[in-house]
């Protein structure tokens, strides 16, 4: 057992972080609202970096790495608050922009519909592919996350079966894993933002970070982040090597703890910022809103808690 990153993994993580810092500073991320979250040129840079084909076999033109590595990459995407249907596109191992939705009894919320090249629908016993253009969907003018534009389809076309039930399960599992990785990145980033503010902002002639109330909020944010990191990394490692544990259980624990960290840290960061945190201008809310948008993706915490309970 060595649950620390290898040198190669540290390099991968740092490389991805630099790429994101260079290409996706928060000014750029904010501007992506105008292009509904996806700018084709920037998307190509992610494609070129192998973000979406990291786990695909080298024989298929992929990078041939494992889930542990893809977790590190998606953590960085989360840290940079990069929008777009990242998880679905990675799962499709595609250089196209891909969406994945669950077929539901009621209306279906489709993220980034107008920029999708492909749309996969998870069914109770398989996967169907649907032409995005064939879907009738109405845009919500006020998505909760400005960078996760959504459309609502009252019903989805049947589509063409492209995978069986087992593949659908694998997609759900990997979707939850990578979503958790993004949530982990969001938790870290918003903690960094809050800590920086707490050190700089003066009230009552002291940095607010010297008040125990603020300090302890930040400490709790760090705790949630590190607990989530352990769970998310463990889930990645377990998918790569199922002999070390129960894969479903590891992924559910990751999705629950990372979702919890992202949402609670987002809220706490706004509270640390006080009134400024309630302004659009301060970034804290963007992390929180992304966290909300991801909370229900590939199974809500409630869904995964139920799943975990049945595996006890």
């Amino acid at each position: 057992m060595d649950f620390e990153l290898s040198g190669d993994q540290v390099d991968l993580q740092e490389g991805m972080r630099k790429l994101c810092e260079g290409r996706f500073p928060m000014e750029t991320v904010r501007e992506l609202e105008a292009s509904d979250g996806v700018d084709r040129a920037l998307w190509s840079e992610l494609v070129d970096a192998g973000v979406f084909t990291l786990r695909a076999p080298e024989a298929d033109g992929g990078v041939g790495l494992g889930s542990a590595e893809s977790v590190l990459v998606f953590e960085e995407l989360g840290r940079a608050c990069v929008p777009g249907p990242l998880v679905a596109s990675e799962i499709a191992a595609s250089n196209e922009v891909v969406g994945i939705v669950e077929r539901a009894r009621g209306p279906v919320v489709i993220e980034y519909w107008n920029v999708l090249d492909r749309l996969l629908v998870l069914e109770s016993n398989g996967i169907a592919e649907v032409d995005p253009a064939s879907v009738v969907a109405a845009r919500s003018e006020h998505p909760v996350d400005p960078l996760t534009p959504i459309w609502i389809a009252e019903r989805l076309p049947t589509g063409v079966q492209v995978g069986d039930g087992e593949l659908a399960s694998r997609v759900r599992l990997n979707g939850a894993l990578l979503t958790a990785a993004i949530q982990l990145g969001l938790s870290e980033a918003v903690l960094d933002v809050a800590v920086a503010y707490a050190k700089e902002r003066q009230q009552f002639d002291r940095p607010i970070g010297s008040f125990q109330a603020v300090k302890h909020m930040l400490a709790d944010m760090l705790v949630r982040t590190e607990v989530a990191r352990a769970a998310v990394y463990a889930a990645g490692v377990t998918i790569d090597d199922p002999s070390v544990g129960d894969v479903d259980r590891a992924v559910s624990a990751a999705k629950i703890t990372a979702g919890d960290a992202a949402v609670k840290n987002g809220k706490a960061a706004i509270q640390v910022h006080g009134g400024m945190g309630f302004t659009w201008e301060v970034d804290a809310h963007l992390y929180l809103k992304r966290a909300w948008a991801l909370d229900t993706a590939f199974g809500s915490p409630d869904f995964h808690s139920e799943l975990l309970a049945t595996r006890l």
Binding site: H142, P143, V144, A213, V214, Q271, G277, W280
Partner: protein
């Protein structure tokens, strides 16, 4: 025992007041346009809100809590509660742009201003002829309000003001701003502040909308560049403005959150209805014992807060001054609204991604309510500041600073 013991019943006079008010609202509201102009139409909103204020004034309901000598009704805190309750239940317009004038600047003027200043403003505020805004907070003075830095330098009969204010509601359409400025930078921070009446039409004032995380621009920033205001516009002594500003806080009679409270209770009832429509597995969210119970638990918290409101109002009626009931209320209300917001997201599941209703499901206001909740634990004293107040003033724990 009845009548003397603790009770929640209307007294005869309160019952009469309620009945009369209810009757009047039933008559007045149908003649009033139901829809307040939208977010970007500040002028339209000013007209709408002040028209309603004039309607109230003409019916004798303006300035419920103001004394009769300045044209108010001189109502008891209980009558004020009844007014707010009935207005909310009847769907009457909110106080809107009249908020600062009626509930903050007006009461301050009434307590501290000169005879001339009162005569110039109070009747006009009551009639809806004059709209006020508040210029207290600054970007660098939030929890530590007294550290404000907007400077006013005396130049003959005028103050020349430079600086900026933040979280100013209705600044776009206000006629006046109650403003705290620093007149003595060398004094200790609470001692060098003055309270000014600043006409918003004065040259050098620039109002810029401040976008909040909800998306709209409910508030503004106000930038002040050599703004000249007559010394005669000062209320109270020079450098005594902190005390003047604090006077108004003692005007709070436990009713500050009545409208919000009633709306929150409605929100929980509506969430139960929404839960019955959201599919969850093969049933609905309402069929989930855990979610249903949490809705019930939240409802208990709000019922308790509504009872606490009545206790706070009763205390204000008896003692005339507010206790720390307001801080206690606000702490629990903030927490309850945060919990309600979190529960909302769980109940709505995928519909929580939209701040607008999702195909027939009336979910939008619940998501927006969650965003609003975030401001409750921050605005008008963060929960951290409120806990300090409660700990130091009620429990007598040592000051930390």
């Amino acid at each position: 025992m009845a009548g003397v013991a603790m009770n929640l019943r209307d007294s005869d006079s309160d019952a009469a007041f309620r009945a009369e008010l209810r009757g009047w609202l039933a008559e007045a509201l149908p003649g009033f346009p139901p829809d307040r102009p939208g977010e970007d139409d500040w002028q339209g909103r000013r007209e709408y809100d002040t028209a309603w204020q004039r309607t109230l004034f003409e019916a004798g309901y303006a300035g419920i809590a103001w004394s009769e000598e300045v044209g108010g009704r001189g109502a008891t805190p209980t009558e004020q509660l009844i007014f707010l309750e009935e207005a909310e239940k009847a769907g009457a317009p909110y106080v809107g742009v009249n908020f600062v004038g009626l509930l903050h600047a007006g009461p301050t003027l009434y307590a501290e201003a000169s005879v001339e200043q009162k005569a110039a403003h109070l009747p006009r505020i009551l009639r809806g002829d004059e709209v006020w805004c508040q210029g207290f907070s600054e970007p660098s003075a939030g929890s530590d309000l007294a550290s404000l830095r907007t400077r006013a330098i005396r130049d003959g009969d005028e103050y020349v003001i430079n600086g900026s204010k933040i979280w100013t509601s209705h600044a776009q359409v206000a006629d006046y701003c109650e403003m705290l400025v620093r007149t003595d930078p060398d004094a200790s921070k609470h001692r060098g502040i003055s309270w000014l009446i600043v006409p918003m039409a004065t040259a050098g004032i620039d109002v810029r909308p401040l976008k909040t995380i909800v998306g709209g621009s409910e508030f503004s920033e106000v930038f002040l560049d050599n703004v000249r205001v007559p010394v005669a516009n000062r209320v109270g002594d020079e450098n005594d403005g902190w005390r003047v500003a604090m006077v108004t806080f003692s005007f709070e009679r436990g009713t500050a959150f009545v409208g919000e409270m009633l709306q929150s209770m409605q929100l929980v009832r509506d969430l139960a209805q929404v839960a019955k429509k959201v599919t969850r597995g093969s049933a609905t969210a309402w069929d989930d014992a855990g979610l249903r119970r949490e809705i019930g638990h939240l409802s208990a918290g709000l019922d308790a807060l509504w009872a606490l409101t009545k206790r706070n109002v009763s205390q204000a009626s008896r003692n005339g001054v507010p206790g720390v009931g307001g801080s206690v209320f606000k702490l629990h209300y903030s927490e309850t609204r945060h919990r309600l917001g979190e529960l909302t997201m769980r109940v709505l599941d995928r519909a929580s991604l939209s701040m607008l209703d999702v195909s027939g499901l009336r979910s939008g206001k619940h998501v927006e309510g969650h965003l609003h909740a975030i401001s409750i634990s921050i605005a008008a004293g963060t929960s951290q500041i409120q806990r300090n107040i409660v700990a130091e003033r009620v429990l007598g724990l040592p000051k930390d600073r």
